[in-house]
């Protein structure tokens, strides 16, 4: 194991939240103070490059979304150190959205018993947008997602919601509650779109370390982050920028549910 002179961090802003952070600087500055070493931190809009960079020892710490972490662990033995806390939870939910005036669909049951509905979601690689809802549906009795629904992958949670709003899709799946994002453009959205159900909880974003990072350094990093929990000033920063209320230690086992879900769909992501 080796210890670098500068700690390099990559931050993938959570997609499954209505407020997205576009800077990691405040965190990096404090961390640098605590560790007594230079910390170089950048925001990255896609986790694939970050995961590869961690696998190649180019980046030490990655703020990875749950699915990204699971993949990174599988590919490059990336290790999870910490996870974020939002309003007391270490997990969040995904929701099923339907037009409020749609009387035929009122629960996930109705979806399972339907045929040929158009299902809009952002991205197959999104835990809240696709993987967890898909898992939920299969658990509830859907045999073949591809034949029972017409898939409409539209790039983002908000677009998926708009597809439902416009009648282009019968239902959509997104994080809880993606409608907040659209409220400025569509003030009535909460009246026009109803939520008919939620998935099982999804673990929050991770703070992970590249394989082979010096153990002492890792421990220092963990301690430094945990110390933010006792620092009111820092808690305020975490809340206002990242919507975090705290940071907690995490273990690979916390992500078992993501791993299972991912493995269920890993071979079968090429939906037409």
């Amino acid at each position: 194991s080796d210890s670098p002179d500068t700690l390099s961090m990559g931050f993938v802003p959570s997609q499954d939240a209505d407020e997205l952070a576009d800077t990691v600087q405040p965190l990096a500055d404090r961390l640098s103070e605590e560790l007594g070493m230079e910390v170089q931190a950048e925001v990255v809009t896609n986790y694939v490059g970050l995961v590869e960079a961690m696998g190649n020892d180019q980046v030490d710490i990655g703020f990875l979304p749950p699915l990204g972490f699971v993949q990174a662990e599988q590919l490059h033995d990336v290790e999870v150190l910490l996870k974020s806390e939002r309003f007391g939870d270490y997990e969040y939910l995904a929701q099923f959205n339907v037009r409020a005036d749609n009387d035929e669909i009122d629960s996930i049951e109705d979806l399972v018993n339907s045929e040929g509905l158009v299902w809009a979601y952002g991205d197959t690689s999104s835990a809240a947008g696709f993987l967890f809802p898909a898992n939920e549906l299969m658990d509830a009795g859907v045999e073949d997602l591809n034949s029972q629904f017409q898939h409409s992958q539209v790039g983002a949670h908000d677009t998926a919601l708009m597809a439902v709003l416009d009648g282009d899709a019968d239902f959509s799946t997104s994080f809880d509650d993606a409608r907040d994002n659209l409220e400025d453009d569509y003030p009535d959205i909460k009246d026009d779109i109803k939520v008919i159900g939620y998935t099982q909880p999804i673990p929050n974003d991770t703070i992970s370390a590249r394989p082979g990072l010096d153990e002492d350094l890792k421990n220092q990093v963990i301690e430094a982050f945990l110390s933010f929990n006792d620092d009111d000033e820092m808690l305020e920063v975490l809340d206002s920028i990242y919507n975090w209320t705290g940071i907690a230690e995490a273990d690979s086992a916390d992500y078992e549910v993501v791993r299972d879900t991912y493995e269920r769909f890993q071979e079968d992501v090429s939906l037409d």
């Binding site: 390099s8 990559g10 802003p13 997609q15 209505d18 407020e19 997205l20 952070a21 576009d22 800077t23 170089q40 950048e42 925001v43 990255v44 809009t45 896609n46 694939v48 490059g49 970050l50 590869e52 960079a53 696998g55 190649n56 180019q58 980046v59 983002a156 908000d158 416009d166 994002n181 659209l182 400025d184 453009d185 569509y186």
Partner: protein, 265 residues
């Protein structure tokens, strides 16, 4: 006065067959396109208008956006530097590629040259970004490299087309005086094409000042990531402000480059 009749030259024997083939292909291509696509659309101006208003008027009225101007401007300057380093390297590297891909210079070898350029362009920008991040880590350098190679692909093609369409007569004169290949290029081709090269390079620079995807992807800093994140979270005032800043900078660059060009050409 007597009428003058001149017979038009005869078309080559396969002319009509070829023409028919081409017309048939075009008709098929379009009918496939029209039948395969659902081109229905309903304009919903009221719904989009809130969004457009936020995007266009937002930057001038939204306090949060105005407050961020200095910060966003500094980010833009980062982008300006990254794009500059990338495009300058790319626009120079593209020149040899372009000559190898030009039929009037490289003759048969141009097939290879064109192939290489096509290959570079077929490689998704995203993938270049991923590769460079995994090779040199996140940060501006990966951005510079990604911009460089993407510029080579595009500029190499545009350059080679300029080279293929120059006035051949001066080259003839140089060849007639026994000048070598490189000398012909240096004294006959470059003076003719440099102004166009320059304007394409500047155009590419402009593209890279705006294209956020690659820079956001590799964590290069600059305005790339904020722009993508702001539009993902539908903060149109912020998006509008960023676009406004980009427009101002691009316009400045445009004016500056036009003046430089005037002095050189």
């Amino acid at each position: 006065m007597r009428e003058i009749e001149i017979t038009k030259p005869k078309k080559p024997p396969m002319y009509w067959v070829k023409l028919g083939g081409i017309v048939a292909f075009i008709i098929i291509a379009y009918s496939v396109a029209f039948t395969n696509l659902d081109l229905e659309s309903a304009f919903r101006w009221e719904q989009a208008s809130t969004m457009l208003q936020r995007l266009i008027l937002g930057p001038f009225t939204d306090a949060a956006a105005i407050e961020r101007i200095p910060e966003l401007f500094m980010m833009m300057m980062e982008t300006v530097a990254i794009a500059y380093a990338g495009v300058l390297a790319g626009s120079i590297l593209a020149i040899p590629f372009a000559f190898f891909a030009s039929r009037n210079i490289a003759k048969r070898g141009s097939i290879g040259g064109k192939g290489v350029l096509n290959g570079i362009r077929s490689f998704p920008e995203l993938l270049f970004a991923i590769i460079f991040v995994s090779a040199v880590g996140i940060g501006p350098l990966a951005g510079v490299l990604a911009i460089t190679i993407n510029s080579v692909g595009m500029l190499g093609k545009l350059y080679s087309e300029v080279i293929e369409s120059i006035d051949q007569k001066p080259l003839e004169a140089l060849r007639a005086s026994g000048a070598g290949k490189i000398q012909v290029i240096w004294y006959g081709v470059l003076p003719q094409v440099l102004p166009e090269f320059m304007s394409y390079a500047l155009y590419r620079y402009e593209i890279d000042l705006r294209s956020a995807t690659v820079l956001g992807m590799v964590g290069a800093g600059g305005l790339g990531a904020p722009l993508i994140i702001a539009s993902r979270s539908r903060e149109w005032e912020q998006v509008g402000m960023m676009l406004l800043i980009i427009i101002v900078v691009v316009t400045l660059v445009d004016i500056l480059s036009r003046n430089i060009r005037k002095r050189i050409v």
